[in-house]
């Protein structure tokens, strides 16, 4: 129970702390001296506790023998939990699934978001309404949207997609059993596409119209303008989208829980879901905590790597 909650709560502040520290360091600016430090102290302390208490508890549990089914077996376990974890083929499968999910959703949302942003920047009838509609999936709760996709879009008997397939004379696809990972990726991408669109559209609007016109005078057609003017202009916004999305996508849970429950087999079990399985289905809190710690480390490696990239990008 506690481990399931601990992991996301522990990993988020940790990644953001890294972001903050890195920023002040790369910009080479020290903020304030002793006097401002005393003013900052309460907030910083609160944030630090917010991060360190769950993190420390997770680390502590991960070093314990702590299985709710075996209340008698307690005590210090050392690295035993980690040993089991790293020799468990489920961990590596879950890591692979996580990376596949994050990677594909990023590709779909960034490419799709960029193209949609270009589209929605054009002047056409009903643009305002179209923009709102395109952005609205972001405001639907993950559980709800996953349910809608499961029961109304991808259902093999009465889903919209199978109806379309049938009216085209094609066999209906049982999405969640034959293409489970693809289905989850589609659902998550559908949810995050609006986010990418929102950020990129805002960035598009700051593109200097004169630059586009100068390019037109220089002989650039729409495609050349996209690659030589628009895309370089969106570079920063795209790296921001990638960073933020990656942090959240590493912990996708609700969509998997509602649709496939991580299956069939381990086909859609990512790290977050694996931790849930260990903690709440196997009741192995120690093992789940070890998984949580691994997830935190993974998230931080990604974050540091990304923050470097984004910071470099923002500076240039």
């Amino acid at each position: 129970m506690s481990a399931g909650r601990v992991t996301p709560a522990g990993s988020f502040p940790a990644t953001f702390m890294v972001t903050d520290m890195n920023k002040t360091r790369t910009s080479g600016r020290t903020i304030g001296g002793l006097r401002t430090l005393s003013l900052q102290a309460p907030a910083v302390t609160l944030l630090f506790l917010w991060m360190i208490v769950p993190l420390a508890m997770t680390v502590w549990f991960s070093l314990q023998r702590y299985n709710l089914l075996m209340p008698g077996m307690t005590g210090f376990a050392g690295l035993e939990n980690y040993e089991y974890l790293f020799t468990d083929p489920a961990l590596w499968s879950a890591m692979g699934t996580t990376l596949l999910m994050v990677g594909w959703v990023l590709v779909i949302t960034v490419v799709g978001g960029t193209l949609l942003a270009v589209l929605f920047q054009q002047d056409f009838m009903g643009r305002g309404i179209a923009r709102v509609l395109a952005i609205s999936p972001f405001f639907v709760m993950p559980t709800v949207s996953a349910l809608v996709w499961k029961n109304m879009m991808m259902h093999p008997a009465n889903g919209v997609l199978s109806w379309v397939a049938e009216s085209l004379g094609l066999p209906a696809v049982d999405w969640f059993s034959s293409l489970p990972l693809t289905s989850v990726i589609i659902i998550v991408a559908w949810q995050w596409l609006p986010f990418a669109l929102l950020i990129l559209l805002t960035a598009m609007q700051s593109l200097d119209e004169d630059q586009v016109e100068a390019a037109r005078m220089d002989g650039a057609g729409p495609i050349a303008i996209f690659f030589f003017i628009t895309l370089p202009h969106l570079k920063r916004a795209i790296s921001v989208v990638i960073m933020i999305e990656m942090i959240f996508l590493l912990t996708i849970f609700a969509e998997i829980f509602v649709t496939t429950s991580g299956g069939p087999g381990l086909a859609t079990t990512n790290l977050a879901y694996l931790i849930y399985i260990r903690a709440l289905l196997d009741f192995d809190v120690g093992m789940a905590s070890a998984g949580g710690v691994v997830a935190i480390i993974l998230a931080n490696i990604v974050a540091i790597f990304l923050v470097r990239m984004v910071a470099k990008n923002l500076e240039s």
């Binding site: 200097d208 004169d210 630059q211 016109e213 100068a214 390019a215 037109r216 005078m217 220089d218 002989g219 650039a220 050349a224 030589f228 003017i229 370089p232 202009h233 570079k235």
Partner: protein, 381 residues
């Protein structure tokens, strides 16, 4: 060779008519300046010439060819934007070579042409920098360089110097005039700045509300404005307008009664205005002269000493007049002054605001900028 002709060009955005029928001829190698108050349609007109905006009706001819349906890249024009519009992620060299890159010119050839333009503009040491690392004047030069490498038949400039400080503006103005000679190109230039218009133009086009008020040489517009609007717009400080009464008028001159009651004759053809009626006397600040025996009197409201000159703002009746006087005049605020005007420099406007023709055409009225050069300069052109 590059000439431009506009025939009855109009432009409407939905229901607003922005350009209302403009006719204009631009000759080869001419430097034409568009001036006019903000919102009069200067940029719109220029963008239509560039092809960035389509004309609602009328013809745009370049070298006699109708260009309305030709895209902006294929008209043989280059435009320099007020905001410079440099591509921020490209180096100076790439900025200048972008059009050639799109046209598929080889890298060596590109570099050669860019270097050539960079040399003219003294940009060689900056070729590897990004626009962000340049000063305003340098950016401006890169924008001009980007236009030069395209070897256009006509250059278009939309307020290119308005983001620069005063000193840099003077420098770039001189540089642009030099470029015009060096490149032998036709140039069209939009500006708000009186001095830029007067010093650089062969031909000034005064626009108001989407219509051409007058086209002429700088000296022609200064000495023979067609109407009250042009008279007020050209020249700085603005021309003074004084309501007067007409006493008599014929082809020999017009006799007017000034606010103080005295009468004067001015060398203006009054034959078209023999019927009498209200007139307005227009005198430029530099042509009002302080004179103890002068026919008009007023009270000094503000006094601006510039060193070489002093501007006096004088209240006479309801109107505030500007007088440019010598730098050493001893007057103070609230002093009352008498002044007159040089009558052969005076203008008269009728109730519609049209000016009555002057009896003598000013000797410099037809002067073009090229004519200022000594004859030896033009040898070899």
């Amino acid at each position: 060779m590059a000439t431009l002709e506009l025939k009855q060009i109009t432009k409407s955005f939905d229901d607003t008519h922005v350009i209302k029928g403009v006719d204009l001829e631009v000759n080869d190698r001419e430097f034409v300046v568009f001036v006019g108050p903000s919102g009069c349609g200067k940029s719109t007109l220029m963008r239509m010439i560039a092809g960035l905006e389509s004309a609602t009706s009328g013809d745009i001819l370049i070298d006699g060819q109708r260009m309305n349906e030709v895209g902006p890249a294929d008209r043989g024009l280059a435009m320099v934007f007020q905001s410079y519009a440099l591509y921020p992620h490209m180096t100076v060299e790439d900025n200048m070579g972008f059009s050639m890159r799109l046209a598929g010119v080889s890298k060596d050839k590109r570099r050669e042409k860019v270097l050539e333009a960079a040399k003219i503009l003294q940009l060689e040491p900056l070729l590897d920098r990004k626009p962000k690392a340049l000063s305003g004047g340098q950016r401006q030069r890169v924008a001009i360089g980007r236009a030069i490498v395209r070897n256009p038949s006509i250059f278009l400039f939309d307020e290119p110097l308005s983001n620069l400080d005063a000193a840099l503006r003077v420098q770039m103005r001189i540089e642009l005039a030099r470029l015009h000679e060096e490149l032998d190109a036709t140039m069209i230039y939009v500006t708000h700045d009186q001095i830029e218009a007067m010093t650089m133009a062969d031909k000034i086009v005064v626009l108001q509300g989407g219509e051409v008020e007058q086209v002429g040489s700088p000296m022609g517009l200064y000495h023979h404005p067609r109407n009250r609007f042009v008279a007020g717009f050209i020249g700085s400080p603005k021309m003074n307008f004084i309501a007067v009464e007409q006493v008599s008028s014929d082809a020999e001159g017009v006799t007017i009664k000034l606010p103080g009651g005295e009468t004067r004759q001015v060398p203006i053809d009054g034959s078209g205005h023999a019927g009498g009626g209200a007139l307005e006397l227009g005198v430029r600040p530099e042509h009002l002269v302080l004179d103890e025996q002068g026919p008009m009197e007023g009270r000094i409201q503000v006094l601006e000493r510039l060193g070489g000159q002093t501007s006096l703002y004088v209240q006479m009746g309801d109107s505030l007049l500007t007088i440019m006087a010598d730098g050493d005049v001893a007057y103070r605020v609230n002093d009352s002054v008498r002044f007159g005007f040089s009558s052969d420099r005076a203008h008269l406007f009728d109730a519609e605001g049209l000016s009555l023709p002057k009896l003598h055409r000013h000797p410099l009225a037809g002067l073009r900028r090229q004519d200022n050069r000594a004859p030896s300069d033009t040898v070899g052109q």
